[in-house]
């Protein structure tokens, strides 16, 4: 029986045992939301504009006459549409987002504020450089930080993402081999089996043949196999360090020595720089080129899948081949060199229309300056500490892929411990969703069966880590106890049940089309 206040309003909830389904499909705060194309917004607009004084008739037959097929929404409808959608997303700001290899760390809002200063956000890429000296100064300052942190002499800022950075690095390597007359001979790129998919894809994209290098039992590059495959037909090796198993390549100096001895270049995938920033400089490891994902290590937001930024630091040998544009600083101030033929440089070309991801440069520099050299070193240490803590606290229940020695910034488990439970890595991941957590990276790296790669990052508190560990342990125990239903149908409590990806791929529906018989005139 509930108690009532003086006007008869219940002040304590009634206890009801059964849980009736809702009548409309709504679920509390979670709203079902239709597509904008299913709204009644055909003909509406949420932007008030003055009446144009031209009808475009001077353009004659060039004018678009047929309906375009774009619904419009008023401002309140727009706000609601996107806020409703937003509530179906997991986010770093909600809970730990332990995707291995993705470095989902806190995104400081100061960075957003800085990137929106009109002096950065509202300047045109082709304004006279005399009117954007501060923007060039920012690029130059960012370059200085990146070069100092990596111990490398040069950086190409313009690549727009990690994979674009890989492209930049390999093209610089290719240009260097062309310059020395060795390109025709050096057509292979060596890539360890544990590499990100972008590595072989990029090497192939640039026209190289990809040769895989084996991995040792302790999760590192097999140096003997590498040495056997290195030769005068190899253009480069691409090694991720710390690697995708979350381990530091102990033999890295030997790897770079052998590579250079064979006349090849060492491309380092810098996706995992977060583990060593401020503590280890890739330049001291013999790296010739390395992209830095500003959206990982330097906390520019992932934004649901971009935009990223992938500046590439370059060794002395590769620096002359960096693509246009670049910034130079002399007595007259900052200048932007936009054409590869300028300054008698040997640049391999240009990777995009303008200067790259200025908005990301601003955010990354804001983040770096906030941390400083001391804070950044602490970033690496805390990231590694958090990962090792998770590994230590889960190793009695789950099977670490490489139990010996510490991991770096991410802890890798295989699915050995799930044997006989009928629960797969995928099932386990989906059950994590029910507990309120985003799953770790699954089935990557490919070298580990049923891989679960957990990267907490340094911005998780111990309390949040303990909460995560508690959930993981509870789930692991449930799996081992035979509570299979909890996993097989999961998630039960997410906005959606498990989605049919096979169906989506078999008969792709990639856009909305007006239903038969409707009078909506979309294309």
């Amino acid at each position: 029986m509930s108690t009532m206040n003086t006007v008869g309003r219940p002040t304590t909830p009634n206890r009801v045992e059964s849980k009736p389904a809702t009548l409309t499909g709504g679920r509390g705060l979670l709203q079902d939301e239709h597509l904008i194309f299913e709204s009644d917004g055909w003909g509406k607009t949420g932007v008030d504009l003055p009446e144009p004084k031209t009808d475009g008739s001077d353009l004659g037959d060039l004018v678009r006459r047929d309906p375009i097929g774009l619904p419009g929404l008023s401002e309140p409808e727009t706000m609601r549409h996107y806020v409703r959608l937003s509530q179906k997303n997991h986010a770093i700001d909600l809970a730990i987002y332990p995707l291995g290899s993705c470095t989902m760390k806190h995104n400081p809002r100061l960075n957003e504020k800085m990137a929106r200063l009109p002096g950065f956000a509202d300047i045109h890429p082709l304004q006279p450089t005399s009117t954007v000296q501060g923007a060039l100064e920012l690029m130059d300052t960012l370059a200085h930080w990146l070069k100092t942190l990596t111990g490398m002499p040069a950086v190409a800022l313009s690549p727009k993402a990690g994979a674009h950075g890989e492209l930049c690095g390999l093209m610089a390597i290719r240009a260097a081999h062309e310059a020395s007359g060795q390109h025709e001979r050096r057509r292979k790129v060596l890539v360890p089996t544990s590499a990100h998919g972008t590595n072989p894809a990029t090497a192939a994209f640039v026209g190289y043949t990809v040769v895989e290098v084996a991995q040792t039992g302790d999760g590192r590059v097999d140096v003997a196999d590498l040495a056997a495959k290195l030769g005068d037909d190899v253009a480069a090796i691409m090694v991720t360090n710390p690697n995708t198993c979350g381990l530091f390549e102990r033999d890295i100096l030997e790897i770079s020595r052998l590579t250079h001895e064979a006349g090849a270049y060492f491309y380092c995938d810098g996706a995992n720089f977060n583990a060593i920033v401020g503590r280890v400089r890739p330049g001291d490891l013999g790296v010739d080129a390395m992209h830095i994902n500003l959206h990982k290590t330097f906390s520019t937001p992932h934004g649901g899948g971009g935009p990223g930024a992938g500046p590439v630091v370059l060794s002395e040998a590769l620096a002359p081949f960096a693509p246009a544009p670049w910034v130079v600083h002399d007595a007259d101030g900052y200048r932007l060199i936009e054409r590869e033929e300028d300054e008698a440089a040997q640049a391999f070309g240009r990777l995009c229309a303008f200067q790259g991801q200025m908005g990301m440069y601003t955010r990354a520099l804001s983040y770096m300056m906030s941390h400083g050299s001391d804070g950044l070193r602490q970033v690496a240490e805390d990231a590694v500490l958090n990962a090792n803590y998770i590994k230590a606290r889960l190793s009695d229940l789950m099977s670490p892929a490489f139990p010996e020695g510490p991991c770096m910034h991410e802890a890798l488990f295989d699915d050995e411990w799930l044997k006989g439970t009928e629960v797969t890595t995928l099932d386990f991941a989906k059950a994590m969703i029910d507990e309120g957590f985003h799953p770790m990276t699954m089935y990557f790296p490919l070298v580990v069966h049923g891989a679960m790669l957990i990267e907490p990052t340094e911005t998780e508190s111990k309390q949040e880590l303990d909460r995560f560990i508690h959930a993981m342990r509870a789930l692991a125990e449930a799996a081992k106890a035979g509570d299979v239903d909890r996993f097989k149908g999961a998630p039960f409590h997410a906005p959606m049940k498990r989605l049919d990806e096979t169906r989506a791929a078999r008969s792709p529906v990639l856009r909305w089309t007006a239903p038969e018989g409707s009078n909506i005139a979309a294309e």
Binding site: E75, F120, K160, A353, L376, R377, Q378, L385, K462, D500
Partner: protein, 447 residues
Amino acid sequence: MRYLPLTPDDRSAMLAAIGAKSIDDLFVDVPKAAHRDGFVDLPRVAGELEVERALGAMAAKNASAGSVPFFCGAGAYKHHVPATVDHVIQRSEFLTSYTPYQPEIAQGTLQYLYEFQTQVANLTGMPVANASLYDGSTAMAEGVLMATRVTRRNKAVISGGVHPHYVRATETVVHAVGVETQVLPAAVDAEADVIAQIGPDTACVVVQTPNVFGTATDVTKIAEAAHAAGALLIVVVTEAVSMGLLKSPGEMGADIVAAEGQSIGNALNYGGPYVGLFACREKLVRQMPGRLTGETVDADGKRGFVLTLSTREQHIRRDKATSNICTNSGLCTLAFTIHMSLLGETGLRKMALLNHEKALATRDALAAIPGVEVLTPRFFNEFAVRLPKPAAEVVEQLAQHRILAGVPYSRLAPAAGMDDVLLVAATEMTMDGDIKILASALAKVCA
């Protein structure tokens, strides 16, 4: 440090749980020779205030577009972006989420990407669009590579009206895989020149409308000529708003559209991040680069969305992928799709007409200046003028008077012999007073 939650006590407790004596124990795999004590030579931790001061000082040295009469275009345009757009894209659930690989808890991102794909398909007049590429120039490069895969031919014929930086970005990438490019001489009305160059080895013809000189062209006949030779037509659009007034590439027979979407919802940002729009014919979809969102159902039969056709992509196919692309321009697509939802067809058409109106007014004002010749015959919101002096000098002089008069063509292509050509753009942001200021200053400089 304000972004780091661990306390010294936490760290000690955690090290104890791990069984490590110090943090250095966790870095034992780093070779001694590469080990560094102490901090790298950079400033130490800084508070918000210090960072704001340092970056604010840099920002203050730049002349922002909104603070001066502004006429720059050539692939990046200043349009008004409704306040709603920037608010929504900063919501935590959009800003701080990852690529939607776990669709059950990423329907927000997946649904807006599906809506974005539909908007882009309809805007370009094409059957399908992907979830975006980095920008318009990389979209063009991917389009050329895709055409070579589809046709199994190896040569691209590129109009002299295509933005020179787009051409350079494309050549840089496609030459690496041995694709040949034939770039025709720059000319204000260059697009139709490509027809005579189409041959049996042509994989694709690349044209731009409106082109870099602003010229709008009906490319229907070019499409017919390309198709007759078994080649594909790639249409590049650097000003997405133009498709609210001009015939769509799809209507004119394009097979692939590679466009810059910055104009809708996104700031100038000194060149990035922008958003590459990429659309194509339905039968080409399995050769498409980049992410695609598709419709499906969940275990309860409820409609939902997932990333699909990923067997084209690098994380599955590795060295056999259609492209090495991993990231798209997620948050920029969100800005695009919100702005487009606000505009709707009614708003977009009106905005496009306002752009055209302002450009016509600017054209009229400049045409009246002795010694200034308007070169572009028909245009959307941008046109080229010939000046009696090198355009770069004029632009620099006017910049000293806090007027951003446009983009000298020589900045894009110094060797084209068009040093006296200035590209002038106007948008709905352009005020009548700005046009007057530009015209009178230009008249003085050219006198």
